[in-house]
């Protein structure tokens, strides 16, 4: 474990937990989970976006979708994205479409940034070998 792990707060303790589940029998576990996360959540984010366009006032639905998405973020330790989810849900409670929209844009940015960082991280991890720990995404 390096000190740079999540030093800018992109990832939290749960990511560390997932790394600890990695071993010789499952050397790519974290990457598999991250890949699954991005694939699965892309669909959900598209649905959320569509709902905001078609039914921007349907806060119950939006909140439900976001609850699901937030759960997945939590499971992989995506701290910043998760924070945006929480913010989004606050705007749903407040009934603010503008707030939801603004937050959603920020959420997508964080989501995208994290994806790039993780890709770089996994690539490096593959290069240095399974027993070394690569520098955690900053």
């Amino acid at each position: 474990m390096t000190e740079t792990k999540g030093c800018k707060g992109y990832l939290d303790e749960q990511f560390v937990q997932l790394e600890e589940l990695q071993d010789d029998t499952n050397p790519n576990f974290v990457e598999e989970v991250a890949t699954l996360f991005y694939r699965d959540s892309a669909r959900l984010l598209a649905v959320i976006e569509q709902t905001m366009v078609r039914n921007p006032q349907d806060f119950t639905k939006l909140d439900n979708y976001m609850h699901q998405f937030k759960g997945s973020c939590s499971s992989i330790g995506a701290k910043k994205v998760k924070a945006e989810c929480t913010q989004f849900r606050e705007y749903c409670k407040a009934g603010s479409s503008d707030g939801c929209m603004r937050t959603f844009q920020q959420l997508k940015r964080e989501y995208s940034t994290l994806k790039k960082q993780l890709e770089a991280y996994f690539q490096l991890a593959r290069q240095v070998g399974p027993r070394e720990s690569a520098t955690r995404p900053r």
């Binding site: 749960q14 997932l18 989970v33 699954l36 699965d40």
Partner: protein, 174 residues
């Protein structure tokens, strides 16, 4: 953040079974049924359980869980000698919630002795209380960690389900 209200209601046996979780003998491995509609969470819980030396069956809905357990009247799984040692289910699921699933299991004479643990991303005391009152054996706040699973399997492997109901106690700590 008060993440995990630890040590919830748990059954403890009188005698300690000589179950050794490190044994790779499959017949000795605990078989856990995991229920979660989230693909990511299923993958994680499966790994957590396998790492704790459990055999895992993961399904994505309460309905499928009931089918697997042979409780769904429309579709029986046909496995009569199914031995499930623990059911761990997400609370929030479309269709049937984990709470509803747990109630159905506890209403069944065939299955009520199987410990049921509920997982939820929301640390809501009223929800936790309600689940425990209705028969849940434990409640875990997500994200689930290895220490949570180890705690469950430690209790479970000592469980002597066929005989000792004495020794149950309530132990709630905030």
């Amino acid at each position: 953040m008060a993440r995990n209200s630890p040590v919830l209601r748990r059954r403890r046996p009188e005698g300690i079974d000589g179950f050794d979780p490190s044994q790779s003998d499959h017949s000795q491995q605990a078989h856990v049924l995991a229920v979660d509609d989230s693909l990511v969470d299923r993958k994680v819980i499966e790994r957590l359980l396998k790492r704790s030396c459990c055999k895992v069956t993961a399904v994505d809905s309460g309905r499928k869980a009931l089918q697997f357990l042979g409780l769904d009247e429309e579709k029986r799984s046909g496995v009569d000698d199914l031995k499930i040692d623990l059911i761990i289910t997400d609370y929030c699921m479309p269709g049937m919630t984990g709470y509803e699933l747990m109630k159905k299991i506890k209403e069944s004479s065939a299955l009520r002795e199987i410990p049921v643990v509920i997982m939820s991303s929301e640390n809501v005391l009223a929800r936790i209380d309600r689940c425990l009152e209705e028969g849940a054996d434990d409640f875990i706040v997500k994200p689930v960690k290895l220490s949570d699973v180890k705690r469950l399997t430690d209790c479970m492997i000592r469980e002597n389900r066929s005989n000792n109901k004495a020794g149950q106690f309530y132990d709630r700590a905030m």
